[in-house]
């Protein structure tokens, strides 16, 4: 494939653009300089590290290394879901829920792509498996996080209303139906919006990367379409699982609201 190699000087020049962010923060007194500095450094270190890790794993073509990194990615994504919650649950159940759903959805969708669509040799080829899994769990994580956050926040706000519906003899999923619908919509909206914007307002990152690397734009488009379908399906499954699972964690088997489980 034909692509232009970037030198360290090229990257250094590009990084100067971050100074614009810093300048705006200083001029307007936003107080973001420290966060900007830390997050920029974090991004550089993380991306460099994953670059070297991926290079190493691609060279091994080992199922152990591939799935090992996949589990680490899922474990970290589960933690990220928790960190996005304003009202966190006591204990580790919410983490367990998020990570389990990410595992099921991430592996189901990725295996579907590997075994039926791409069919690389070997089937777990890390060059395909890890980026696809990463894109699916990255988006699913956002959906689950938003869905759970919307559900918990709205139930906490409407506690009396939910209690009134339960007192009238409604089962928990019925009493919380409006909250569940709202949480599912909120969780799925980013990917639905992204689909509408793809190709007109923005060129998706993966497609851009492939085109720059010399892949034929039509082939890059096919890959992008496949990944968007996988992400859309994964996000819908993940958000639904996360929101319904959260209903179980915020209620009990007697169909009572258990908000004391929130910290």
């Amino acid at each position: 494939m034909d692509y232009i190699n970037l030198s360290l000087i090229d990257l250094g020049l590009a990084s100067l653009l971050i100074l614009i962010n810093g300048g705006i923060s200083l001029c307007l007194g936003l107080g973001l300089e420290r966060t900007l500095l830390i997050n920029t450094a974090r991004m550089v270190v993380q991306l460099l590290a994953i670059g070297f890790v991926l290079k190493f794993i691609f060279m091994q073509t080992s199922s152990l290394w591939t799935f090992g990194l996949a589990f680490i990615m899922i474990a970290l994504a589960g933690r990220e879901i928790l960190s996005r919650q304003t009202h966190q649950l006591k204990g580790g159940k919410a983490y367990g829920l998020g990570a389990t759903i990410l595992f099921i959805v991430g592996f189901t969708c990725t295996l579907f792509a590997m075994l039926t669509l791409l069919q690389p040799d070997p089937w777990y080829s890390p060059r395909y498996f890890l980026p696809i899994l990463g894109m699916i769990i990255g988006n699913t994580m956002t959906g689950i996080g938003l869905g759970m956050e919307t559900l918990t926040t709205s139930i906490k706000r409407d506690q009396n209303l939910v209690e009134d519906r339960l007192a009238l003899g409604e089962p928990r999923f019925f009493a919380l139906s409006e909250h569940i619908k709202k949480a599912l919509k909120t969780g799925m909206m980013p990917i639905i919006n992204a689909m509408a914007a793809s190709g007109i307002i923005s060129l998706p990152g993966m497609m851009t990367g492939q085109i720059i690397s010399g892949v034929d734009p039509i082939e890059a488009t096919k890959y992008q379409l496949m990944i968007m379908f996988l992400i859309a399906g994964g996000t819908a499954l993940g958000t639904t699982g996360g929101v319904l699972g959260m209903v179980y964690l915020l209620t009990d088997e007697r169909h009572r609201l258990r908000l004391e489980r929130i910290k």
Partner: protein, 194 residues
């Protein structure tokens, strides 16, 4: 008959009392003494140890929501989730007749809930609670937002229903009307009179 045996949780208890069909019991005590929590626990809205039987049926044999179809707690402040009054009631309930008995204008049926007064909402919340004919009513200060005339109409309707009734009240006339059996919550403990 409602049999409550050693009902208790971290807020109140233990309470043991039998209440016959059609009998009413006043639940009294200072604010924060645990009256509301006690009634919520009977409706199984709050976790509590102990046993409750309704007509010899153990509440544990029913799902929580099935129990609450029979044993209905009505909070002092009501919440509403649909836009209009009518949407909150089952179609078969004679809402217009019930409203007129409580002195509510029939045109309120199609009103937006947000436009109702506190007193109108309190009376409609009571009607919503009795619309599917529960066997036990647990009323938490049911006339706190009503004038004397409206309160009397509501009390008359409660009496006519003839359900097992527990009613938390600070109102002396109401205590007189639905007594003399009462559960008294105070710092020394819980006392059942007479």
């Amino acid at each position: 008959m409602l049999e409550i045996i050693n009902l208790q949780n971290h807020i109140f208890g233990p309470v043991t009392i039998d209440i016959e069909a059609g009998q009413s019991v006043i639940v009294r005590g200072a604010s924060g003494s645990g009256k509301t929590r006690f009634m919520r626990a009977i409706a199984d809205l709050d976790e509590a140890k102990g046993s409750i039987f309704l007509n010899a049926q153990d509440r544990r044999d029913l799902q929580g929501h099935e129990w609450r179809k029979r044993v209905r707690f009505v909070a002092a402040d009501s919440s509403w989730w649909f836009e209009t009054v009518e949407e909150h009631f089952p179609k078969e309930f004679e809402l217009r007749d019930a409203m007129s008995k409580l002195g509510l204008k029939p045109e309120l049926i199609n009103s937006e809930v947000t436009k109702l007064s506190t007193g109108e909402r309190q009376r409609l919340a009571f009607l919503r609670a009795i619309a599917d004919e529960p066997q036990v009513l647990l009323l938490d200060e049911p006339t706190s937002a009503l004038d004397e005339n409206a309160a009397q109409k509501l009390e008359t309707m409660i009496e006519e229903l003839g359900t097992i009734l527990l009613i938390a009240s600070h109102n002396a006339a109401q205590v007189e009307r639905f007594g003399p059996k009462e559960i008294m919550f105070d710092k020394a403990g819980i006392e059942i009179r007479p």
